[in-house]
């Protein structure tokens, strides 16, 4: 079974339709979708304008009965991104310091750690470092020692080749 189609298998006679695998299983035509959406929107606007009286009033935005608003009350990036971060909380280790609501000069601090980094990559890196340290033991930096290594290697090779 062909899971990933051989490129974009577009039928030659139908340039509108994008069918990655098979026309029966999935097909997509961006142009038709766009035309239908725009058509429905225009039709809805027409119908609403015909049946709605069209009286529109401008009024101040609802302030919960608290007109004295400061910039401190606006929605922050933290407030915007926090739900998404909470959804993905199991995958990250999050440390955060949130200021008190009455702090006039608030400071946010947050550090996000990747759990996969600690669980997966750091052990591999530590193992590689450990092996490198063992290999480093035979590097003494003295020419005599290296000559001894060459000599031992030659002897071993002679033993094997014989």
């Amino acid at each position: 079974m062909l899971l990933i189609g051989s490129g974009a298998n577009i039928p030659a006679d139908n340039w509108l339709l994008l069918a990655p695998i098979n026309e029966d299983r999935s097909s997509y035509s961006p142009l038709i979708v766009l035309v239908v959406i725009v058509g429905v929107v225009l039709l809805t606007v027409q119908i609403v304008h015909r049946y709605y009286h069209g009286r529109v009033r401008r009024a101040p935005a609802w302030d919960c009965g608290y007109p004295l608003q400061t910039p401190r009350m606006q929605d922050t990036a933290e407030g915007f991104g926090q739900p998404i971060r909470q959804v993905f909380e199991p995958f990250f280790r999050i440390e955060r310091e949130l200021p008190s609501p009455f702090d006039s000069a608030p400071r946010y601090r947050m550090r996000v750690h990747d759990r996969a980094w600690r669980a997966l990559y750091e052990p591999i890196a530590k193992a590689a470092e450990f092996l490198a340290r063992i290999a480093g033991l035979i590097q003494q930096g003295r020419i005599g020692v290296y000559l001894t290594y060459s000599f031992c290697t030659l002897l071993a090779l002679l033993v094997f080749v014989r």
Partner: protein, 144 residues
């Protein structure tokens, strides 16, 4: 594309549009029963639509055209979604133009324009409503 296909397509969209407020009413009833409240009437959304058609539209000061356009965009995306999903008939001419991924894209378009409209006015309450609607995973009590 046959005449019967086009007719069933139109009939399906019309039926979905006509029954959508009924679903909202039923969901609201179930929600009220689950939280031990007495339920609103089943046909309340229809009455709300009729009432809203006679009332004035109030738009906040500083609202941009995005805020005015969003209901139409959401409505158009939902109409397209209703036209794709085979609920009444399977031989739909429009269903070939979009698959399940395009359906998800339509819902994303509606959610995205809804979020834009919520942030358009600039008050915190709009963003709160956006958060309550778009990400149901985060309950309001956890938003400190």
């Amino acid at each position: 594309m046959t005449l019967a296909g086009v007719l069933s397509q139109l009939l399906q969209v019309a039926l979905a549009l006509a029954l959508a407020p009924l679903l909202v009413g039923w969901v609201n009833q179930c929600r009220a029963w689950l939280s031990n409240r007495s339920a609103p009437p089943l046909l309340l959304p229809y009455r709300t639509i009729r009432k809203l058609f006679t009332k004035d539209a109030i738009v906040a000061e500083g609202a941009s055209p995005i805020f005015r356009v969003t209901p139409y965009v959401v409505f158009g995306a939902m109409c397209c979604a209703a036209a794709i999903v085979p609920s009444l008939a399977t031989d739909l001419p429009f269903a070939q133009a979009a698959d399940a991924i395009a359906l998800v894209g339509l819902f994303a378009l509606a959610a995205c324009s809804f979020a834009l409209a919520a942030m358009d006015i600039g008050t915190a309450f709009g963003s709160l409503a956006r958060a309550a609607r778009c990400s149901s995973a985060s309950s309001p009590s956890r938003r400190s």
